[in-house]
Amino acid sequence: MEKNKIKKIIESLIFSSISPVSSREIKNFFSDEEITIKLIENLILELQEKYMNSGVNLKKVSTGYRFQVSEDCNEWVSNFYPEKPQKYSRALMETLALIIYKQPITRTEIEAVRGVGVSSNIIKTLLEREWIKILGYKDVPGKPAIFGTTKEFLNSHNLVSLNQLPKLDDIVELSDQEKRQLGIFESNTEKTENDDKIKNEYNQENIH
């Protein structure tokens, strides 16, 4: 087969493969004796040169060759795909709420209130966001980490102090529809009244 044709085929194989393609795989694919590993690797070198100044480059990784977006285009491509604003899970919200209001708090204590285990992913996410941090380790068996909120959490939510967190009172002013959206309202008016009473108590006593 003509060298240029082999090169084109190698190019198309690497582009159409989900995982990196090794020169060995390519060699095995061509049952032609004349197509040696050496020839294949030379052709790949030529391809690498061809793509030197392109938007994508041909790179060697541990399991073979693959195309990657070139370094100078990476940021553009990255910006082209806006990360979908993450929807926070109820579990994450609850965990965060407990860390805010009951800090310093350990995982076991969070679990005690929530009645279910807290997944490591949630803690990891909150730590990575730098919304919480490990304040220290409790001096009990197992030395559990103690969590608290960070300045970063306040900053990223435009707060100076935790006291600026909205009060339940303010939220009670919301329309029924808004409440339903927030999931405060269970269509049951009795429950709502009761909720409001507790909410008020809570506001007076807890958030100053």
Binding site: V69, P85, A97, Q103, P104, S161, L165, L182, G183, Y202
Partner: protein, 270 residues
């Protein structure tokens, strides 16, 4: 389907009736059935409904749809239906309906025309011919459609070329603070944490101060208690700080040490 075409062939070979149609054994496939003998079931199974079968019967005899020799076609159609039933092929009700339609048309055509002027009256075959033509158009179109180049069969795309996702701080969506308050409130309700006794102690500002203190403390470092207090916070601020220290001691998170009565109180992480 429980009978494979090869088995059907074997059956034919050993002279056992291929099928019984109206109680009459068929040793061989009837000569007027136009179908390859070794693929009886495959052929029977592959019809896409009564129109498809009719179309097959017409085409296999090089007839024109427009001629539609109804008597001949009707007989063949019914033979097929009988065979399909004998082979226990799942037979859609539509096949039976078509048999009835064919029989009806046949009988209409057999009736003598009474009045010459009724030539304007529609040929009883017209509607069926129209349907056959219509079906044939789409059947042909579907074959051409299947021949069109199709992704992952006739042509291939490049895979998504990977790139490094650049994480930006602004990418993080804030949590809805109001929702956070509600979530906490609900949790408290659930766990009956919200008893007056507990609540009074759980001043958020004390909690915040506790975190502040823990943050200020470095491992193995002592911190002067006075430095924790912030005069600008006023009296309540001082009380909050004091309560925070007491709470931390209670939680055995910190130790308090004092060299003597006069000297400063130092706190350190436990």
């Amino acid at each position: 389907m429980d009978i494979k075409s090869s088995e059907v062939k074997n059956v034919v070979d050993i002279d056992v009736p291929l099928a019984y149609v109206k109680g009459k054994p068929y040793l061989n496939i009837p000569k007027d059935l136009y179908l390859p003998p070794d693929a009886l079931e495959i052929v029977l199974e592959s019809f896409e409904g009564p129109l498809d079968l009719l179309l097959y019967l017409i085409k296999s005899q090089n007839l024109d749809i427009l001629e539609l020799p109804i008597a001949k076609i009707t007989d063949q159609y019914i033979q097929y239906i009988d065979l399909m039933q004998d082979l226990k092929l799942e037979l859609a009700a539509e096949y039976m309906l078509m048999a009835a339609t064919l029989a009806e048309i046949k009988s209409k055509l057999l009736l003598p025309t009474i009045d010459e002027d009724t030539s304007e009256e529609e040929d009883p075959r017209a509607e069926l011919i129209r349907r056959l033509q219509e079906y044939e158009r789409y059947k042909k179109a579907s074959i051409r459609l299947d021949d069109l180049p199709r992704v992952d069969r006739d042509f291939y795309l490049t895979r998504k070329v990977s790139y490094q996702k650049i994480q930006k701080e602004e990418d993080y969506e804030r949590v809805d603070l109001e929702k956070l308050v509600i979530v906490f409130h609900k949790l408290m309700q659930q766990t009956k944490f919200l008893t007056p006794h507990d609540v009074k102690k759980e001043h958020l500002s004390v909690r915040e101060k506790m975190t502040f203190i823990l943050n200020s403390l470095k491992k193995d470092n002592y911190l002067d208690f006075k430095n924790i207090l912030d005069i600008t916070e006023g009296k309540s601020g001082l009380i909050v700080s004091f309560l925070a220290v007491l709470e931390l001691i209670k939680l055995s998170l910190i130790d308090c040490v004092q060299a003597n009565y006069e000297s400063s109180i130092f706190i350190k992480l436990k």
